[in-house]
Every structure is written in structure tokens, then in C-alpha cells.
């Protein structure tokens, strides 16, 4: 528990509470935002002329777990030149695209981010993800278990045993301390167990009587049945292939009839990688306009962009077949890490170059998605770190969205043929700071169902970022470099009421919490499903049933969210 803070005179951007740059004092006590603080022991932060926002909530960033660690081990050359010295109370570590865990926490905190989600964790290796999350300081964390190609789940769906499937996924989230259901290239990962892939939503999954469409619909229903706070989080089929925007839209559309009009029911992630038009790499162009059009017309869908940064990257996904294809295309070293009965994974280093036609199209596609989708509550800022670029470059993406000038400066250097082939150059839209706050914190917190995050209302967690620039005194569009600099190094980052960063320097390390979802469902149903699984477990996995579970004691700072399932 921490002391009292008063942030005075800041220009507050708090979209969840409708506050757009008003000067409001924010009071903090015992790690929460309160109405007011009094007393002689109040630390006052003078935020005059500075922007105050809730701490950033990064909804999709590969920072912990087996494949991330494979990426770190694979790339010593990524670390040689980018390192951080140990300091009193702080550990040493390395960057760049796959930073070590301590450095990951410090670098997020420096940008004013206070929560990060590891979006793809193999369930059999969940303890590894938890151990790494424990070692990421300051920020709060959560992880999404990969469920789409899990044998037990596919069998339940095959047989139409939807209630049992829902009970099993509820049990999985609870037992593995996961937060939401992640689906990657549904059906493709099981096929990759044989070196194959699926090519459409209606392909049959090798060895099972099921299609990707059925997996998606089944798990969407399951997710609704257990009242999960976050929709199914989906990495669509055919990622990285020319012409795949059609599959993306088909994926979005395949659950449309399940929408009841309340909150979105499907989350499509890093859509840039799935929004390509054209028949081949040479003819590649952006399919973002079509995708944006669909998203604009259908409110059951939420996405994040997965924006490309022109720098080194390390591609790492659970999409085993895609990663192998990338290796064949580039000849770069390749790690493959299939996980029995569940999923696959692959890691391949990469580099995005401005003059390269394909990379330029990719860069354009991500920005077009963000600029053509009208509702900022349904399109979020990510770089699918480290696939399209390192998370430390988020400020650069913010600048591109806020300022047409910033885009122009980069457009001058990218492959001109790519520009001619696409719309980006004709788009004038510039994001407001309010909208930036939505796509980096308010919106992401809301879609995650975290009512204490992403806003500065009374009762919220005191996770606050203060940025040193005054939007009333500068032209956001013209002075984008200033904005970028300000977002790179927050003037203050406050986590659970602790001042952890000042002027981009970490001054205190705290233990963030690991959030997970604890669904309660009918005991009879749960018991029957669990005993069925337990009985068959040895025929599936090479570990014992009891050892599959991740005990809560493994989490350094556990924060369960109890939800009442509808079954």
C-alpha cells in the first residue's frame, strides 16, 4: 500500500469518463484514485501544462513464455548492443526486440504503460509464462491460453458437446490462471503437427472431424456461455498470405449471428498481417479499406492493428506453418516449438525496410486500418511486439496517427510504388489525443473487461501516466516530434499509487499483479467434465493431470477476477 498523492493542474484525458483535456486534480490514496486527499503527508505533483492519462494498457505483446524465451535465446545478436546497467534496486538486462524480463517492465513503465497482456501462452507450458510474468517488474500482467487446437476442446466441439466444452474452458482459465481464450490459425496448428496447414475456414482439420469455422463458432459460443470479460481473441487463418483480407472478413463474419448487440464478441488481432489484397507478393496491396468497411458496419468486431515499424523485428507466433513459410521465404534461422495436444509456435528474425515494396505495403496497411476505422473504441494500437516492431516504438505509431506530417516524413522514404498503389497518401485524418488515449488505454481496458483500469475515475487503480507536453500550446500535427519524445519518456509514471518513473528514469521497482479469470459454473457440470478429462488425461499428455495445473502460489502477486458463468 502506498501513500497519498495529489496530481495538480494537469490536462486530463479520461475517455471512459468522457474527460477531454480538462484541468482536473487527481487524488490518490492506498493505490486507488480517490475523491480527495488531505494531510501533511500528501506528495504533490505539479502537472501544470502536462497531459495526464490513465497508465497505458497494452492488449497484445509477446513478452513472456516459451516461444518468447526461444526468441531471446535464438538472438544473442539482438542483445549485444542494447543493454541496461544494473542500478540500486534495479536489475541489469538487455533489449532490443526481445528484451529480458526486467528490462521489459522498465521500458513499459518509462512510456507510461502500466499493464501488458501476453496474448498467446501454450497451456502445457503455462507455468513458464507465469514465471516470466513474475519477473516483469512494475506493470500488471495477464496471459491468454491457446485453446483453438486443443484436442479436448476440438473433440467436444466435434461431438457438439458445447456445455462440456464451456465447462472445460472455464476450468482451464481457472486452473492455469489465464485471462481469456486465444485462438490462432484455428485448425492450422493441429495440421502443422503433420507439417500441413489449413487454407480456408471450411477445410477439414487433419485427424479431426472439424473445420476452422466450427472451432471459431464453438469457442465464441463457449466464451459467451461462461460470461468471460474479453471476447475470443483471434489470430485469423492465412496470416501473411497475399489476398488474405477475404479470409479475415470471413472470420469476422462467421460469428455475426451470435451477436446480441451488447458488447463485441470477437477480437481480431494484428489485422495488418491479415489485410493483404493481391494474388502474389509482387502484386500485393492493401486490403485495409475493405476490412475497415466491414468493421465500420459491424459492431460485433474489435481489432488491433499490428503496425509495422521500419527496424529489426523478431517474428514469433503460435502459427507454426506461417513461421516455417517465413523461414523458407527469407532463409533466416527458424525455431519451431510444437506443443503436444495443443498448439505450435515458431520464431524467425526479420527486418522491415522502407524501400522494400512488400514491407512498405505492410506499413501502409496498418496505418490505413487505424485511419479508416471510425470508432476508436474498436481499433487498438499494437505492433504485435516483436512481430511488426518493438513496443518501445509505440510513440512513433502515435505520432503517425496524430500527424499527417509525421506520415509524410516517412512516406517520402518508403517505396514509392507502394504509395501509388494504396490510399494512405490521400488520407488526412489525424487522431486527437482523446482518441489516442482510447486506443492505448481506455479502449483496451474496456474490451478486456477491467473496470478498474484505463480510467481515472474514483475507485480506479492509481495507474497514471503524466506526459510533459501541453496540447493547448502546441500544434499536435506540426510538433509531432515533441509528442513522440514526450510519450517515449513519461514525466511521471505512477503504478498502484507508487511513483515508479520520473522523466523516463525508473526510480522504484514494484511487483505488478497477474490478473486471471476465475469463472464459477455449476459444480455438477464441472465435476463431471473434470473427472472425464482426468480419466483420459494420460492418453493425451505426457504429464500427469495434477501437474498440468498451475497453482496460485506460483504467482508472486495474484489478482483473480471472479465471474459468474452462465452454465
Amino acid at each position: 500500500m502506498s501513500g497519498k498523492l495529489l496530481i495538480k493542474n494537469g490536462l486530463v484525458f479520461d475517455p471512459i469518463n468522457g474527460i477531454d483535456g480538462e484541468i482536473i486534480d487527481i487524488a490518490v490514496e492506498n493505490g486507488k484514485i480517490v475523491e480527495d486527499v488531505k494531510g501533511t503527508d500528501v506528495k504533490v505533483i505539479n502537472a501544470t501544462g502536462m497531459v495526464v492519462m490513465p497508465g497505458g494498457v497494452d492488449i497484445h505483446s509477446h513478452v513472456a513464455g516459451s516461444k518468447v524465451n526461444s526468441g531471446r535465446a535464438l538472438r544473442p545478436e539482438d542483445h549485444y548492443k542494447d543493454y541496461e546497467l544494473r542500478k540500486p534496486g534495479l536489475r541489469s538486462g538487455v533489449g532490443y526486440t526481445v528484451p529480458s524480463t526486467f528490462v521489459t517492465g522498465y521500458r513499459y513503465a518509462r512510456m507510461g504503460y502500466t499493464m501488458v497482456i501476453e496474448p498467446a501462452t501454450p497451456m502445457l507450458k503455462q507455468k513458464h509464462t507465469i514465471e516470466e510474468l513474475n519477473d516483469i517488474p512494475i506493470v500488471d500482467k495477464a496471459s491468454f491460453p491457446l485453446v483453438g487446437d486443443c484436442w479436448f476442446i476440438m473433440e467436444y466441439l466435434e461431438k457438439g458437446m458445447i456445455k462440456e466444452c464451456a465447462a472445460y474452458t472455464a476450468w482451464l482459465l481457472k486452473s492455469l490462471k489465464g485471462y481469456a481464450l486465444k485462438i490462432v490459425n484455428p485448425g492450422g496448428l493441429e495440421s502443422w503437427g503433420w507439417g500441413r496447414n489449413v487454407r480456408s475456414l471450411d477445410d477439414n482439420v487433419l485427424g479431426f472431424n472439424l473445420t476452422p469455422r466450427e472451432i471459431l463458432r464453438g469457442l465464441c459460443k463457449v466464451n459467451l456461455m461462461i460470461n468471460a470479460p474479453h471476447p475470443i481473441h483471434v489470430h485469423a487463418n492465412r496470416l501473411g498470405q497475399p489476398g488474405n483480407y477475404k479470409t479475415l472478413i470471413e472470420t469476422m463474419d462467421c460469428v455475426r449471428d451470435l451477436y446480441d448487440g451488447s458488447k463485441p464478441i470477437i477480437y481480431l488481432t494484428h489485422c495488418q498481417f491479415n489485410s493483404y489484397a493481391g494474388e502474389s507478393w509482387i502484386e500485393l496491396y492493401s486490403g485495409a479499406p475493405e476490412v475497415a468497411d466491414y468493421v465500420n458496419k459491424h459492431s460485433h468486431v474489435v481489432i488491433d492493428i499490428g503496425q509495422v515499424i521500419f527496424s529489426n523485428a523478431t517474428t514469433m507466433t503460435a502459427d507454426g506453418p506461417f513461421q516455417f513459410q517465413l523461414h523458407l521465404l527469407t532463409d533466416y534461422k527458424w525455431v519451431n516449438a510444437d506443443v503436444e495436444c495443443e498448439t505450435s509456435a515458431g520464431v524467425v528474425p526479420f527486418r522491415y525496410k522502407k524501400r522494400n515494396y512488400v514491407h512498405a505495403i505492410q506499413w501502409i496497411t496498418g496505418l490505413e486500418l487505424a485511419l479508416l476505422i471510425k470508432d476508436p473504441w474498436r481499433v487498438f494500437l499494437t505492433t504485435d511486439h516483436p512481430n511488426a516492431g518493438p513496443f518501445t516504438e509505440y510513440p512513433r505509431v502515435m505520432a503517425w496517427l496524430i500527424s499527417r506530417k509525421a506520415r509524410e516524413a516517412t512516406m517520402k522514404k518508403v517505396n514509392p510504388r507502394a504509395l501509388r498503389r494504396t490510399l494512405l497518401n490521400s488520407i488526412d485524418r489525424e487522431y486527437s489525443l482523446y482518441e489516442i488515449a482510447i486506443i492505448t488505454r481506455a479502449g483496451t481496458a474496456k474490451i478486456l473487461g477491467l473496470s478498474s483500469k484505463g480510467h481515472l475515475g474514483v475507485g480506479a487503480d492509481a495507474d497514471i501516466a503524466i506526459y510533459n507536453f501541453n496540447p493547448r500550446n502546441i500544434d499536435l500535427s506540426r510538433d509531432y516530434k515533441l509528442i513522440r519524445k514526450a510519450f517515449r519518456k513519461a514525466a511521471y509514471t505512477i503504478k498502484a499509487g507508487n511513483i515508479v518513473c520520473v522523466n523516463g528514469e525508473v526510480v522504484k521497482s514494484v511487483d505488478g499483479a497477474i490478473f486471471w479469470v476465475n469463472p464459477s459454473i455449476s459444480k455438477d457440470l464441472e465435476d463431471s467434465v473434470v473427472s472425464d478429462i482426468r480419466r483420459r488425461f494420460r492418453d493425451y499428455y505426457t504429464v500427469e493431470f495434477e501437474n498440468y495445473i498451475t497453482d496460485e502460489s506460483l504467482l508472486v502477486n495474484s489478482h483473480p477476477l471472479s465471474i459468474k458463468g452462465g452454465i
Binding site: 535464438l74 538472438r75 544473442p76 545478436e77 539482438d78 549485444y80
Partner: protein, 275 residues
């Protein structure tokens, strides 16, 4: 320009990282400032004057550093040097002349591993023996040496020219295993013999072995017998079995092997009749 002499102040036991010890340092700073420059010995910082006796001993055309003694514990002397001369009479430590861009290094004695790793230009000459990874690189990097010349009169360890992109390495003595492994360009001339694995994974470049080579990797294909090979200004004459590889990497590098030193490879000549 001045000549400076450096000798160890005592018998070193712990590793010392002195990668700023190069001619430029002495040109940019006065000697008294140089003596105060700090480097790491183990995990403690020490001033150069605590570790070395440094004195000015004469004049020369170029700034010259003369190291006399056992510097095997001192790492990366001459790193990224771009001009001047470093001469060492004794033992050179790990990473000597790493990434050098210009200037000259002369080692009258032996040198440890990673001598001239990632070299870009300039020249290195060693009179004694050298360790592993001569003109090489570090794990995971895209390429190693890409320019300059290294001449070794003694013998070397393993993996010389690891990931070499360009430049020339010449060794008078025998060379250990896997010379030119992962090579993508440049020339390696081995006047002695070498261990197994020459040219493994190579994509391009030339390796010439005048002495005994135990075997040729199966992924290399016999191309022809050449009567001579040019290396810079020299033309080596003889009968050279020429192999192209590493075909496993779709490589088009060349491995030249002196037929007279390798009678056990004469069966390849039968392939000429078959061609």
C-alpha cells in the same frame, strides 16, 4: 607522431577489458589524461596507469603503440582502430584488433581467439600462433570479417574466417577444424594443412589448402583441376583439385586443394573421365 611503450604493471590474473587502447586514444588525449582513463579489471574499475607502465619512447610517421609482455588477460586491445600501428612483443589477448578499420597490427608472439574478428580494413601480421575464430564473428551475427588482410606465420586454432564476408586471411602453418565455416566471401589461404570441415555451410568465397586436408565434405562437388590460383598479386602454381560448395546451402564457393599433398583424394580424378 609518437611511439608509446606499454608493459604490464604486474602479472595479470583477472580479465581486463581495454578496448579503448588504440592509437586514436593517444592522439585524442595527452599522455597524462590517458593514464587516468578507466577500464575494468574483473568487476572493478582501474585507471590505465594502475595496470600498465606507459611511456613515450620516440617518434614515428604514425602513432605507434608497442606492447611488451604477456597481455593474454587484456581483451580487445585495438578494437575499432582506424589508423596507426600496434606492435606487440608477447602474447595478445582475446579479441585483439576486433572490428579494426585501418592501420596495422604486428604481433611478435602469439595471439588468443577472435583476433581481428569482424575486421573491416587494415592489416594484421602474426609471427607466432593464433587461437580460434581468427577473423571471425560472434554467435548469431550475420557476418564476420569483411575487409583487410590477416597474415599468420605460425598455426591457428579452429573456425578461422567464421562467417567471413570479404578480405584475406593467409596462414603459413597448420589450421584447425572448419576453416571458412559459414563463409560468404573473401579468401582464405592455408599453406599448411587443416582439420576436417573446410568450407562447411559456405555460400561463397575461396579456401585454398596447400597442405594436408583429411577429407572433403560430401556436399562439395569436384569441378576440375586448376594449374594455378591467383591470390592478390601472387600466383600459386601446382595442381589444385577444385571443389564447388557448400551445395547443401546452394553455395558457389570454391575449395582448392593441392593434389600433391593429398594423394588420398586422387580418386576424384576419375570423375574427370566421367564428366
Amino acid at each position: 607522431m609518437k611511439i608509446y611503450q606499454l608493459t604490464p604493471a604486474y602479472d595479470f590474473k583477472l580479465p581486463i577489458l581495454a578496448d579503448n587502447l588504440k592509437p586514436e586514444l593517444f592522439e585524442e588525449k595527452q599522455l597524462s589524461e590517458v593514464l587516468n582513463v578507466e577500464v575494468y579489471e574483473g568487476n572493478k574499475r582501474k585507471r590505465l596507469e594502475e595496470l600498465f607502465k606507459i611511456k613515450e619512447v620516440g617518434e614515428a610517421e604514425e602513432t605507434t603503440l608497442e606492447f611488451i609482455g604477456d597481455f593474454s588477460k587484456v581483451r580487445r586491445i585495438g578494437r575499432e582502430m582506424s589508423r596507426g600501428i600496434i606492435r606487440i612483443k608477447g602474447i595478445a589477448g582475446i579479441g585483439f584488433g576486433e572490428a579494426m578499420r585501418g592501420g596495422k597490427i604486428i604481433i611478435e608472439g602469439s595471439a588468443g581467439p577472435w583476433l581481428g574478428a569482424k575486421m573491416k580494413g587494415g592489416s594484421i601480421e602474426v609471427y607466432g600462433d593464433v587461437g580460434d575464430f581468427l577473423g571471425g564473428a560472434y554467435r548469431g551475427e550475420n557476418f564476420g570479417m569483411r575487409g583487410g588482410t590477416i597474415v599468420v606465420h605460425g598455426k591457428t586454432g579452429w573456425n578461422i574466417g567464421y562467417k567471413m564476408k570479404n578480405g584475406l586471411i593467409m596462414v603459413d602453418g597448420d589450421v584447425g577444424g572448419f576453416p571458412g565455416i559459414h563463409m560468404i566471401g573473401g579468401t582464405i589461404l592455408i599453406k599448411g594443412g587443416c582439420g576436417m570441415g573446410a568450407g562447411a555451410f559456405m555460400k561463397n568465397g575461396r579456401i585454398i589448402v596447400l597442405g594436408y586436408i583429411p577429407s572433403i565434405l560430401a556436399s562439395f562437388s569436384f569441378e576440375e583441376i586448376r594449374p594455378s590460383i591467383r591470390v592478390e598479386t601472387e600466383r600459386l602454381k601446382g595442381r589444385f583439385y577444385t571443389f564447388i560448395g557448400d551445395l547443401n546451402e546452394k553455395g558457389s564457393g570454391r575449395l582448392f586443394v593441392n593434389a600433391d599433398s593429398n594423394k588420398h583424394l586422387s580418386f576424384y580424378e576419375q570423375l574427370i573421365e566421367e564428366l
